[in-house]
């Protein structure tokens, strides 16, 4: 059921056919994560960077990601200023041999809203250091335009707080961001269920990044498939150009030739 040929999603020098980007956090098991990744059809997956626990043995997360099918997008989650984010990005580049970085600089521990000033500072340094920068940012058209002007390869506004599953809280700002952006707009954070994914894609955004919406579902594998279908459905509906909304009814069947009507 893949009749319509969509254009690929281009982020910097990278090209993707799936418009769904998934995470690796909060899954009940590594096996559930792997199955959900497969069901999602995603071609890019986020990972975090943390200190090794000295003296602790264990497998690597990377053993559960098929890098022939999935591009790894390391993040700077947990960073609270530009200095930490840049240092994390540099370590991620060495570790994963990628110039891709999801720039995340948190400004508030309860809402996990980004620190816009520090995000802009880090973005500038990372772009000049040759990174392909995908910044997580508020649904702020001005901040998004500034990040684009600094050379970010995409902008990733939140639709609702990270891990909240509240859906697309302000569709108007997301739409304004998309209408003005010259780089891909990826809704990052807030998608809780399939209809949220469809709503976001119908607004015209280029892709979705989600973690908790899939990982915290009772059945992450089924939800991953639901998100894949909804992402594609929303994308197709956007490209199709929806009908205009009307206040009153407008019959779909002809009003002529009704039985029992007096003949003309």
């Amino acid at each position: 059921m893949q009749n319509f040929e969509d254009s690929p999603l281009r982020i910097g020098a990278y090209e993707f056919h799936s418009r769904l980007i998934v995470g690796t956090g909060k899954y009940p098991s590594m096996e559930a994560m792997q199955a959900a990744h497969a069901a999602s059809g995603a071609e890019m997956v986020t990972v975090a960077i943390r200190r090794v626990n000295l003296g602790e043995k264990g497998g690597s997360l990377l053993d559960y990601i098929d890098r022939s099918k999935m591009t790894i997008l390391p993040n700077t989650a947990g960073c609270f200023n530009a200095r930490e984010a840049v240092a994390t990005a540099q370590l991620a580049r060495e570790l994963l041999e990628t110039d891709l970085i999801k720039l995340e600089v948190i400004g508030d521990t309860q809402t996990l809203h980004p620190d816009t000033r520090e995000t802009l500072l880090a973005a500038e340094q990372l772009v000049s250091d040759g990174f392909t920068v995908l910044p997580y940012i508020g649904d702020d058209p001005v901040a998004c335009a500034q990040l684009e002007a600094l050379g970010c390869a995409a902008v990733m506004p939140l639709a609702a707080p990270i891990g909240s599953g509240l859906g697309i809280c302000n569709p108007y700002t997301i739409r304004i961001i998309k209408e003005r952006a010259g780089v891909p707009v990826i809704v990052d954070a807030g998608v809780g269920t399939a209809s949220d994914a469809a709503v976001a894609m119908e607004l015209g955004v280029d892709a979705l990044l989600m973690n908790t919406g899939i990982a915290a579902a009772q059945n992450p594998v089924a939800m991953a498939e639901a998100m894949a279908l909804a992402t594609r459905a929303g994308r197709l509906a956007f490209l199709s150009g929806r009908m205009e909304k009307r206040l009153y009814a407008n019959a779909s069947s002809p009003m002529q030739g009704l039985i029992g009507a007096p003949s003309a």
Partner: protein, 67 residues
């Protein structure tokens, strides 16, 4: 030699003079980690040559689950 590894103060024996030797002593595979020494990333190809100095701050990181 006194150093700090991932925020922990450690006393390194004389046999651990390079990053490669420190990793081996910690039983950490170089393939799965990245290392910064005093805030500068050290390329994996340099571990065997990179000599550790008194007071160095060493960060050893890996990929973990996240969104």
């Amino acid at each position: 030699m006194k150093v700090e590894i991932n925020g922990e103060k450690r006393e390194l024996p004389a046999a651990e003079a390079t990053l490669a030797e420190v990793l081996a002593a910690l039983e950490i595979e170089a393939r799965g980690v990245a290392i910064a020494c005093n805030d500068r990333v050290v390329r994996r190809s340099e571990y065997a040559r990179h000599r550790i100095a008194e007071g160095d701050r060493i960060e050893i990181v890996r990929a973990v689950a996240g969104g």
